[in-house]
Symmetry: C2
Subunit: 208 residues, 2 copies
DNA sequence: TCATGTGAAGACATTCACAGCA
DNA sequence: TGCTGTGAATGTCTTCACATGA
């Protein structure tokens, strides 16, 4: 199973979600052009993407929904449950917990961290908050590979380094800075300021 | 000024931010390879990107920082201040306000909206909250082109349609659904669930 | 000499279009 | 017939490599 493009993975995740949430359950099978309509991609794109997960449909029945969901799951998910660490339990951290927790059976925010002592030992959405000084120990102990950074920009680089030091291999970074980390760590930036600037640009240009 | 690729715009926004926040001010000029080091892109990429904004450096002095920032601003920003509407004043909405407000001189979250009456007329980070029933009227009145959706998934499509109906041309969507909207509306999805799933995949694979 | 600006090449991603199959 | 799976073509983005200029 070679390297797969990021964009392909994003679409595979989207296919699974749409199959899980909005497939009507009346029909047991689905065609690529139906998936195309649901997702907004082309049917050729979808067939191409599905090649990588090694599940084949039939020209007559298309794809069997249940099997397709299963194959997507085997491709996307770990075999065992993966833990995720959340750093920063402010408004953003709490929002992430409430959007995320319980949505993916194979993923769980297993620990959160904050600097403020009054938050420590609180349990929010089934996730206990630890003091940030215990970061390395706890993620190591819980064998956590994924971290979410939801702290202010000026603390983010420090937090990132501590995450990596504790054994983290992938980071979702909400702080509006470019993290400097070793190349083997996968970083996904979710910079809100940039998102708004970008959309503002295209919104404006769409009127010209 | 033709169409510009999304990725190029993202990098231009990043260049400006890095120049504003971490340029040392000692030197008045900067070379593409220095920008490359700051951003992690190649110098050729940077020179190529800067071609589109119509600002030229010199082989001897590189780029003059102040002029470069100015040119980037003229390219990225509107001439007048643009207003942004935020829908949903839960944890996520408040996080967006505190991350965003005051960071970009030419952009301001000018109104927020919520369903819950107790939040209406609150002022958070200089932004007044209105009842969601007034959405179309107020964004039309304030001539707002950009909307941010920070409501639960099941309300997002409805909110999106009302935004578009009120004249919005670009949306930052934090809800984990695929919005169905007319193609002239630019949509940027910031689905946190997908971000975590994706990073979890690559974090895991990086160990194999 | 050294860095810019850019044509050309290369890498990557998407779409076309059709053989093959039930 | 109407779909899948996929080679080939196209389109888009990034990097190479060098002419140019101070």
């Amino acid at each position: 199973m070679g390297k797969i493009p990021v964009k392909t993975l994003e679409r595979l995740i989207l296919y699974r979600r749409l199959l899980l949430t909005q497939h009507d359950g009346k029909s047991t099978n689905i065609f690529s052009h139906q998936l195309a309509k649901m997702t907004g991609f082309t049917s050729a794109q979808i067939r191409r993407d599905l090649m990588v997960i090694g599940y084949s449909g039939s020209p007559v029945r298309g794809y069997i929904v249940e099997e397709l969901i299963k194959s997507l799951g085997e491709f996307i998910d770990a075999t065992q449950k993966q833990g995720v660490a959340l750093v920063g339990l402010g408004h953003l951290g709490r929002a992430i917990l409430s959007y995320f927790q319980g949505r993916r059976p194979k993923l769980e925010i297993a620990a959160s961290f904050d600097r403020q002592c009054q938050k420590v030992d609180q349990v929010v959405m089934g996730c206990r908050c630890y003091h940030i000084d215990d970061l390395e120990n706890i993620i190591h102990e819980k064998n956590i590979l994924v971290g979410i950074i939801a702290v202010p920009a000026d603390e983010a680089q420090d937090v990132a380094e501590r995450l990596v030091h504790g054994g983290i291999r992938g980071i979702v970074n909400f702080a509006p800075i470019k993290l400097k980390l070793p190349p083997e760590v996968y970083v996904e930036n979710r910079d809100m300021i940039m998102a708004v600037e970008k959309v503002a640009y295209f919104a404006r240009k769409s009127l010209e």
